[in-house]
Symmetry: C2
């Protein structure tokens, strides 16, 4: 089957759940992302799949012998399910696709089962979808690295020599990764003001976002056994949106020589639904040309970017409307997820199911496509005007930031849902 025919067939899929057929829904039958939810009727967190305005309770469908998750769905995290392997993820997704497809009566016409298996999304509480054994953050947008290098170091040599040779990354703090909706407290810390000899202890004055995506490792590797670049995508379960909240003033003082620490460790927010690579497959596209050609261990044939539209909005406390402060696309990223994973493991480092790997801030070439306020306001010098008046250099208490992402198909979109967080004032 050629790609055009395949795309037409995928686009033609419809569900008997009407809200899933809305072209604006993030969760059509083409998506079927995995998450962990609970609700008022059953407060026990468990595995679900989003479809239109509903969540399918996977443990209920397994009890009814309609899907097979080897008993892993009645769990507070997806790790045990993910550890079953790619074939199982695919089998479950294909079985769900069939059950939810227009014309399939099995679930649709079983009123009792339907009542137990379908939970309204608006009534559900979403939880962190995976236990994260390790969180790594990359730095793979050329535009972002150039902007930051220009501001913090030297505009003439903004991109450091290693940047175009390897996907620069560092270890983040896994303990403070939280799910969308968790409020984020402004951190206190050491800040060095330009005219003072010594640092002061202060609430962060330059609180910022970083628009990122992240991927979840679906199959780890043993210590000492690298993942080849060509195999790397088979080790990825799926993707989420990620906001790597950043305290720029704390960061600038602390980050030499060992990298960011407290400026990032207070919170990282991810979206609750993991979009599988299978759902993203129709949106595969070419990465930007890489010059110089990477060393052999970082080479892969074919297309390894994904065409994911990204948007960031800011809503001040009490405001009716949010202001869009960034629009960009994941396909601009210089280094692919496969290259990131191959590089991460090339020295023998092991990865584990549930590991989270952030893309790094995703910035385009213009101020309105930057993934951080640091860049779009040029370190606060050019504040952004808000729709209901006022402006922002960095975040104020009460601001709510929401990341959204979606792949636009013909008449449908594979969406990521929201990755949101509101700023609480610093501890007194």
């Amino acid at each position: 089957m050629n790609d055009a025919l395949k795309a037409t067939l995928v686009a033609a899929l419809k569900s008997w759940i009407e809200s899933a057929n809305d072209p604006a829904s993030d969760f059509p039958i083409q998506n079927l992302p995995f998450g962990i939810f609970s609700d008022a009727i059953n407060a026990q967190p468990r595995a679900g799949v989003a479809i239109g305005d509903w969540i399918v309770d996977l443990s209920v469908l397994e009890d009814a012998r309609l899907i097979d998750g080897h008993g892993t769905f009645n769990a507070t995290r997806l790790n045990d399910f993910i550890a079953l392997g790619q074939q199982t993820w695919r089998d479950v997704r294909i079985a769900l696709s069939a059950l939810l497809a227009q014309g399939n009566a099995t679930l649709r016409d079983d009123a009792d089962l339907r009542r137990r298996a379908l939970v309204p999304r608006k009534d559900a509480t979403m939880h962190l979808p995976v236990e994260i054994p390790g969180y790594t953050d990359f730095y793979s947008s050329r535009e972002h690295a150039t902007n930051v290098g220009s501001m913090f170091r030297d505009p003439k040599n903004a991109l450091l020599p290693n940047w175009s040779e390897l996907p620069v990354g560092y270890n983040g703090r896994a303990s403070s990764v939280v799910v969308s909706g968790t409020k984020v407290r402004r951190p206190n810390g050491q800040i060095k003001l330009p005219n003072d000899e010594r640092p002061v202890f202060s609430a962060c004055r330059k609180l910022d976002i970083e628009l990122e995506t992240g991927f979840i490792v679906g199959k780890g590797n043993a210590l000492g056994e690298p993942i080849p670049c060509e195999d790397a995508e088979a080790h990825i379960f799926g993707m989420v949106l990620l906001n790597d909240w950043s305290a720029r003033d704390i960061q600038q003082w602390e980050y030499v020589p060992l990298g960011p620490f407290n400026s990032k460790g207070f919170a990282t927010t991810i979206s609750p639904w993991i979009i599988t690579l299978d759902a993203l497959e129709p949106f595969r596209t070419a990465t930007p040309a890489q010059e110089p050609q990477p060393l052999a261990y970082l080479r892969h044939e074919g297309d390894h970017a994904f065409d994911i539209e990204l948007e960031v909005t800011l809503r001040p406390e009490g405001a009716q409307r949010a202001t869009t402060i960034s629009r960009t696309n994941f396909r601009l990223m210089y280094w692919s997820m496969a290259q990131q994973l191959a590089h991460h493991t090339v020295g023998g480092c092991n990865t584990r199911v549930g590991d989270l790997m952030g893309s790094g801030t995703i910035s385009g070439p213009t101020p309105d496509s930057c993934g951080s306020l640091l860049e779009s306001t040029w370190n606060g010098q050019r504040p952004i005007e808000l729709e209901e008046g006022g402006e922002r250099a960095f975040l104020l208490d009460g601001d709510e930031i929401t990341l959204r992402g979606w792949c636009q198909g013909e008449g449908y979109r594979v969406g990521f849902g929201e990755c949101a967080g509101e700023i609480l004032p610093a501890r007194g």
Copy 2:
């Protein structure tokens, strides 16, 4: 009771296990460190305490109702036991101390129980003692930071301005922390040779050690709730030796601007026995004077260093004798463990039971007290002579590195045992 009297009483303690009374034993009755072991008779890893040449099987003593671990001893990691809290650790340690003390017949004269509860250490396999949710590495030796800054940056401004204001730290890779005795494979990676325009892919040519200690978090903190410096020691379960293996050539090329990554992520070795802070208490001493006085959140009254002698030996493949390549002391560290933990959490970052926090390389003021070959050989320029001939700039395949540490009491020592690893050749 005054300190001198207390010290005399502690020193006078003896056990009916004769090997524990050897002044050269690391594991007298004054120590009683916790670990996870298995043996040929029972291959199931479980909790134990070292005493002389023996290991006390804690689950056997709990079954006999002689100690109370709330059912946590029959586990492959100590996390559940540690999570019971400081009072429980102390109660168990005090009960063991009584059971093992000279004159106590309960265990000594119960031949059947003794046979089941005591396992010869030489017959045991030690395992990683805790599941490590997060691994943080600090950089708290002034001498080490000065040496590295001189070599990698500028000798005139070796110590960066933030160093004397805060305990610089970064997130390490928890997945590749291994227990002493695990062989370590030389990593491959990108190396930038001075006369080449581009990096090459190569086995590491400057493989090094870092002599460190680490502490294990015994009580975490919730997100957004910092641990005050004065309370921080109550959050520490105990200490281990730690070798932060480092690929210097990979490090020098990759580390800007986000810190070390693949140069450290291939392996970190820790010793198997966790020495409790209670066992270390008699060896508490003053930290070096801190100038300037730290900001208020980093201040604590009293003594917060520990007098721990440290030693590193190198034994080439096939050699009879190992060469001592470093002798130093933990008490030289500029920043205390309490200050490290207070700083780590001051912005709200949460910690969890089992988190590992490395001290950073422990170096003294002279080449023979440096905690890394990078420093003692000055980046390979002044190789160390080995006892059986030959010399070392950096590690060769087959080299075995062993760290040892102990607190010297009057007629006894509280020892850490060994933290050892042998270098395997790189993957072809």
